[in-house]
Symmetry: C2
Subunit: 354 residues, 2 copies
């Protein structure tokens, strides 16, 4: 494997010195880019891009051609694992992800296989290898998966949900069935992320999009321990280099101390928590990733630059900050505004790294 030409992102996660704060964007390869929409139209649909390693590589590289991003992230979906378990992932336009089969009983849980990454998710592993080759050491490649709790919500509800009624009913009424499902998912995600690491992912992120829908006690019972299991089971060194892990629970701000204790190098923050306050609480233990409101990209360039300055000032001097949005970039954003954002992070952060 080739030497990394830009390793700011990996260094920041290890809280090592960098020249400027590294930056990437969740969903940076996505619908806000006309070139992405063109590839997707050519392929047919979202899953056709995901399952074709050449196309997944093509769209992964697109934002790097436009912007001075410090990391690439595998183009894929958080729900590939339940799809490989046989639930039949599909997308209805404007409806978000859906599964043809749901998981709601003990028998449903028992019937679920633990996917073999190379055999059952080979298209993802091939995409990782293809992208690594194409990147040729330009920036590190991030692999990812959904968290067990987040995957479980989609598997039980059959898609997105506002109130997680069926998921919570199962968790509260039959916690042992929920734990069996989460245990299976933790094993599957561990194998899946280790597959990505073996294929070339240089860091991995666990997306816990819906952990924040739980009470503190329920989060500590149903979400966090299974992310902990994954972190414990991951390959942490590859090619002689540390493979950092980032855990990101949206709306997890109130529980930062416990999230910071699972052993991941980085903790992702949404925009509802001040990053300086978060650093005071846990910044001596982990790197922090975040946290501009994605909707700030609808503002004019000067307002975006001011917001970047504010967040950099809030984090303050020293190492351990990876700049990002607090959630995925919104499809209607003007790509030029994304460029303003990324350039502003580099321009205004040098003073904090002297």
């Amino acid at each position: 494997m080739s030497e990394l030409k830009n390793d700011r992102f990996l260094r920041a996660l290890l809280r090592q010195p960098v020249d400027v704060t590294p930056v990437w964007m969740m969903r940076q390869a996505g619908r806000y880019l006309p070139e992405y929409r063109a590839t997707r139209a050519k392929a047919g649909d979202f899953m056709a891009v995901c399952t074709n390693p050449e196309l997944a590589c093509e769209v992964t590289m697109q934002p790097l051609e436009r912007f001075a991003l410090d990391a690439a992230i595998l183009f894929s979906d958080i729900l590939t694992v339940p799809d490989a378990m046989g639930l039949g992932l599909y997308f209805e336009s404007g409806e978000g992800p859906r599964f043809r089969k749901t998981v709601r009983t003990e028998a449903d849980v028992n019937a679920l296989p633990i996917p073999d990454p190379e055999k059952d998710l080979g298209y993802v592993m091939d995409a990782v290898r293809t992208i690594r080759r194409e990147l040729n050491g330009r920036v590190p490649l991030i692999g990812f998966s959904g968290s067990p709790w987040t995957l479980a919500t989609y598997m039980i509800e059959g898609g997105s949900s506002k109130d997680f009624r069926f998921t919570k009913t199962l968790a509260f009424e039959q916690p042992q069935v929920m734990h069996a499902l989460l245990e299976k998912l933790a094993q599957s995600v561990t194998a899946y992320l280790n597959g990505q690491i073996r294929a070339g992912a240089q860091a991995v992120q666990i997306f816990d999009t819906w952990g924040g829908a739980l009470s503190h006690a329920a989060y500590l019972e149903f979400s966090l321990p299974y992310m902990q299991k994954i972190v414990d089971g991951l390959i942490r060194e590859n090619d002689g280099r540390r493979v950092p892990v980032i855990v990101f629970t949206k709306n997890g701000g109130p529980w930062l101390e416990q999230i910071a204790a699972v052993g991941a190098e980085g903790v992702g923050l949404d925009w509802t928590i001040d990053i300086g306050a978060a650093r005071e609480r846990v910044g001596d233990r982990v790197a922090l990733q975040g946290n501009m409101d994605p909707q700030m990209l609808f503002a004019n360039p000067e307002r975006i630059r001011t917001e970047v300055k504010n967040i950099l000032a809030s984090y303050g001097n020293g190492n351990g900050h990876v700049f990002n949005l607090g959630h995925g970039i919104t499809p209607e954003v003007n790509p030029e505004h994304a460029g303003v954002f990324i350039d502003a992070v580099h321009e205004f952060s040098a003073q904090y790294h002297q």
Copy 2:
């Protein structure tokens, strides 16, 4: 006005001693009750119930006939004020609230009137008077409104939203226009809640359903100061008795210290924050209202009772707790489970008030 036979709710908000912890439920008069569905079917739709004081009174009383609730809450909608401003509120089944007109420019904001409560929202004032008469001192009556920020999101988006794209674009791009709108809304809500208090509301709650979609800095700029203005402008004593105010920002857990400083007697908590931890942070300044996950009502009675015990134990000994759900009750809940919840609060809380 008649003497109050049960004033636990008001006493708890003033952190005065009570025999047991008072309890009510957000949306306690609502779709989970077959008798409510019958009244609504008879009336035609939701707004027909809201705008008819006799029917609004009828459904307000329904949960009190079933359960040992310690407060009644006016049956109405958080969006009556923008409706009275001329935006044309309506409901599409399964779609949530919608407005026929949106507010997106300075001219739109300038054109908005400040409604006169008795003239433009007389049906609400009449409902309050009718309900007070019907209650006859049984329990206190809570009045309410949406917060300026929350009302603004619906007025700008034209209905519910996932990402608040137009609202945030206005806030970030033209903050002076947004502030003019929020100022007008704060004046309107103050007049509206004072109208409810004069008509007989014995406490009021400000629902900031969407303040939690903001960054900490944006919340302190666009939501909290306008709730502060309302609290500052409210009639705080009526009929020789204090009229307590409750402010409730969903997902406001990270900002509790500042919310507790606006001068309201009570702060509402959603279920994502541990109430004991919240009490440690602000419980010497305000009463706390909450905070069971509404979805816990889908669990079996024994699990519900355990959860009530856990929350009571987390709050601990002493005064200043009003038990509630962390958000409105879900329409699919079995009413018997709501009864189990309410009885459990009374049964298990006596030990904390000795």
